[in-house]
Symmetry: C2
Subunit: 214 residues, 2 copies
Amino acid sequence: MKFYGYFRSSAAFRVRIAMNLKGVAPEFAFIHLRRQEQVAPAYTRVNPQQLVPALVLDDGTALAQSLAILEYLEETHPEPPILPRDPVGRARVRSLAMIPACEIHPIQNLRVLGYLGTACGQDEAGKQAWARHWIDVGFTAYEASVAGHPQTGRFSHGDAPTIADMCLVPQVFNARRFGNDLTRYPTLMRIFEACMAVPAFDQAQPAKQPDAEA
Amino acid sequence: MKFYGYFRSSAAFRVRIAMNLKGVAPEFAFIHLRRQEQVAPAYTRVNPQQLVPALVLDDGTALAQSLAILEYLEETHPEPPILPRDPVGRARVRSLAMIPACEIHPIQNLRVLGYLGTACGQDEAGKQAWARHWIDVGFTAYEASVAGHPQTGRFSHGDAPTIADMCLVPQVFNARRFGNDLTRYPTLMRIFEACMAVPAFDQAQPAKQPDAEA
C-alpha cells in the first residue's frame, strides 16, 4: 500500500493515527499542499478529488477521503477496533467524528482560507478570525456532546480510542495554530491529552513526519 | 422513532431518502432553520450540535449527523442495502458521499453564508457566487470520479442507490437554487435523473414535505 499525505493535513493526520494503531505500514508519498501538488496531473490521476490523503492498495485501487479510509481500515484490519460494536455507539462515535470532519475542517482548510482572500478580500487577520470562529462553533458542540455524557470515558467514547478521537486531535493542533482559547473546552482537552499519551497519536503528529517543515 | 428535520436541509433530505427506501417511518418534527429554532434550548437538548437532522430512538437516545444516521439505518435495517458489501466498494461509495457532505455542503450552508455576510461583508450576490464556486469545485471532483469509472452504473456505484446518491441529489437541488451550470457535469446529472425516477428520492424532495414553503 502507498499513502499520499502532507504533514500538516488534518485529514492525513487522522489516517496516520489509525494506521499506527492497527500496525498498517504503507509506503509514504508526500504531496505538498502549499506548492499545489495536489492539483498536478500526476496526483489528479491518483485522486480526482485533488485532496489528501489517498491510500493506494496493492492492486492499484486508490481510496480517497479520510473517513472512508478509516472505515476501510476498520473493515479490513479490525484489531484493535476504532469503532464500538453496537450500532448506537457507532452512530455516536461517527457523529462526534463528523464535528471536526464535516463542520470545522472543511470550512477552515487551506483552500477555503485562500479563496476568502482572493474572492472576499480577507487579509491574514480576517482569515484567522474566520478559522477561529468555526473552530469555536464546532468545539462548543463537541464539548456539549462529551461533557457529562455517560458514554464518555478516558476517550470520547469509552476507554479506547475511536475515529472520534482521530478527528478531534488534528483539529486541536489547528486550533492552537489559529490561537483559539482552548480553556473553554475542558472535557475535549482532557480527551486530547489522553490521546497524546498514546504513541499512535503522538507519532502521527505533523512535526514528527518526514516532510515536516518549521 | 422521531425525526427532526427541515424541508430544505440537504442533510435531512439525505436521511429522508434512506428512510423511504428502507421503509422506516418515524414521527416527524420540524425545526425551522431560518427562524433559528435549531439553537433554541428545547432542540439543543435533543441535539447539542444544534443542527438538523436528528433521529431520536424509542428509548430517547438521539442520533446526530446525517452520515452517521445513514450508517445506523444500514446496520439496523439492512434491506435494501445502501452500501456495497465489499470493503473497496464501500470505501468508494463513502468517498463519493463525502464530496457533497464534507467538501461542498458545510461550506455553503445557511450558517456559513450568513457569517459571510456579517463577518466578511458579502452581499447576496457575493454569497451566491461563493456557494456556486464550492459547488463547482465539488461537482468537478464528483464528475471526475464517476465518469468512465468501471463501477459507475445506473447510479453512482452500480445499479442500486447508495449513500453516495443520497448525498448527491440534495446537492443538485441546492446547485439549481444557486444557479450553477449543471451541463458541465453530464454523468452526475444522468445519475441525478436516475435517482429522481425512484419514488424514495422523489418523495423526499423539499417541495413534498409537510413543512415546505414556496
